[in-house]
Symmetry: C2
């Protein structure tokens, strides 16, 4: 046994650490470093680089011109080379509490920060992330509160003839409480998938924190995949590790809305839910807001709470689906049944602002009641996290 004892724990740690730093590039610098005053320093060791920049949503936006018009894009800042080929940039001002995304650009080549293992994929783009705590952003953190369970579960959709994946949040205590819970269906935007609200939306952290503070009711949150041609998020389906495509044939043409009752039936069969309209909410961002609008009016007895977050409103003229027929009559029926909440949130510089203004005008003209929340900024995750923290406390009260 003596010989076996000689095998030291240090060996395991030592080899791994060595391999990591010497062979795999490693992380000889700290980046990002969040200082006590909430200024942030970014560092990259790149002795051979000629130009190193950082781009991200923590920088002032800059206008970008596209064939579709002018939009706000993330800014870019230059890092300066210091000792040992370590480049550095510190924000001139403290950053406001928020979850931020960023990437480096080294000699015009975008790359992740090798010192930061935290990355979030948004559609086909991966960026590093960091979080400045305080204020509302404390809701985005894992805090010392009871934590719900996050499950990836598959359901069969007879309408779409597919097995499909859902992300489901059940509140802390669900497994052993024996109780039934209300259900909030939370839908992503175009190109997103059933991972988007968990990764970028911080849904499980926000719900854990709001429920622990007594500000939101304990509820089940169901995050669907709104692309009816997909089984699951990229990398999680039979497509394997195929590059995500922006060719999205079944996103805003009625298929997802038509098949939505399959999801509700599955959830009511599989979880301890309160199976009535009074205990169901639906909301979504951008395309998911569009889905929420059309699903809630198609099935007027299904949802008592509706949230449109930076929503697209009307289908493309070329799109044909019974879902979009009889718009006025369906909306009339929905509002005649007096939903407990019809909530519209939009940012002042969102490219969908005008469409939302026109839709609100229509609702106003017909006397359909809704709650309106206007924020700064545009069509960005920062707003959708804010809308979630505003919307969830209003549900099931």
């Amino acid at each position: 046994m003596k010989k076996i004892l000689l095998l030291s724990v240090m060996l395991l740690v030592g080899v791994m650490t060595y391999a990591q730093q010497a062979l795999w590039g490693g992380a000889p610098v700290v980046s990002p470093e969040i200082h006590d005053d909430n200024t942030v320093t970014f560092r990259l060791k790149a002795p051979k680089a000629v130009k190193v920049q950082v781009t991200g949503d923590f920088l002032p936006t800059q206008k970008i011109t596209t064939p579709f018009g002018e939009f706000d894009g993330p800014g870019v800042a230059d890092l300066k080379e210091g000792k040992d080929g370590v480049w550095e940039y510190t924000t001139p001002e403290p950053l406001a509490p928020e979850l931020y995304s960023y990437s480096f650009i080294v000699d015009d080549l975008k790359m992740m920060d090798p010192a930061n293992v935290y990355m979030i994929r948004d559609v086909a783009t991966v960026t590093n992330v960091f979080l400045i705590g305080g204020g509302r952003a404390d809701l985005y953190k894992v805090n010392d509160v009871p934590h719900g369970t996050v499950s990836r579960i598959w359901y069969n959709s007879p309408t779409l003839k597919k097995e499909r994946r859902l992300t489901v949040y059940t509140p802390a205590g669900y497994e052993t409480s024996g109780k039934r819970y209300p259900v909030f269906y939370l839908l992503h935007g175009m190109g997103g998938d059933e991972e988007a609200w968990i990764a970028l939306g911080r849904t499980s952290q926000i719900l854990d924190n709001l429920i622990a503070q007594g500000k939101a009711e304990p509820m089940i949150v169901v995050m669907t995949n709104g692309n009816a041609s997909q089984e699951a998020a990229p990398g999680e389906s039979q497509d394997g590790f195929k590059a995500p495509s922006m060719n999205l044939p079944q996103t805003m043409e009625g298929s997802f809305e038509t098949a939505f009752p399959d999801v509700v039936k599955f959830i009511d069969k599989t979880y301890r839910t309160k199976t009535n309209k009074r205990n169901r909410a639906i909301a979504g961002l951008s395309m998911g807001g569009y889905h929420s609008l059309h699903i809630s009016k198609q099935y007027p007895d299904m949802f008592n709470y509706v949230g449109l977050f930076s929503a697209a409103i009307m289908p493309d003229k070329k799109v044909q689906s019974p879902i979009y027929d009889d718009f006025d009559q369906k909306l009339k029926t929905q509002f005649a049944k007096k939903p407990a909440l019809y909530w519209i949130g939009i940012g002042k510089t969102d490219f969908l602002y005008q469409a939302n203004t026109e839709y609100r005008k229509l609702l106003d003209e017909r006397g359909y009641k809704y709650t309106y929340y206007e924020s700064e900024g545009g069509h960005i995750w920062r707003n959708w996290r804010i809308y979630l923290t505003e919307f969830a406390p209003l549900l099931f009260k």
Copy 2:
């Protein structure tokens, strides 16, 4: 309504695609491209780069010398610059079916492949991945079979005085079958966490496929966090997005083993389990094999199936814990109770090969029965996936 109709779906897609390619660097090349003959081409657009290399476990290993001895490390290959600054490398031979990891090295700076959104974090290192199908590697794919559910769930450990996170796989049909299931506890290596077996180990795919083929019994798989000082994987705890540390004070000093009954109690309370030794298995890789060894002999009435995958065997001499006292007597008691399976798997070039040889000699001398599986290669995930596909079919028969 006419005006609202003018808002085209194309706008949403168009802006996103444009922003992605023009602003965020985008992915103008296909990489990796897996050809029909299973050769693979890697591409990177980097017009200003002087040297571009690819490193990964698909290349022949090369010796690296460390203070701890000589080990096999991943190889490196040069890409060649072609038209428009696109660098390229194609493997000279087809690659065998496997899940592979790789990174680019651009002018000595390691970076992810911007054309590949699929990445896996292993401890503090993130690499891109791709999969060559066929043979055993088909078990690592999402196939057209019923899929189990993967949940991240928190439990309270009275022993460690912490809320801690688990990853739990429940087999397809669990939610509505009403049946009770056997439980397989599957433990990660040093520096890993409760995400390791799901991400790199492909546990949910392997179990889905083995169960669908009738080769493994439907079972619950519980993946713990073996670092008793952690609540959860990096990024998932109150530590927030702190850089993962290789300072692991509570990994191989008895705390995790002492607190293990907390996990079993929680699982038996929370899931429909078969709550007896006959229906419990434990296995782990490297440090997780060490944990499995010491937990199974500490609690000889808990586990009927034990798997040591490239296991560390004995604690460091300086470590003091009642867990490691009376080694011989505890092992005698464990084997007197005749476990249904005591399985040892190790690679021929593993740095723990000698320690495992000596441990087997000890078992042989005492007449303790075990099953031995020797593979090629060393202390790598390729082997641990293989061991899982070999071990899981032997359980609960």
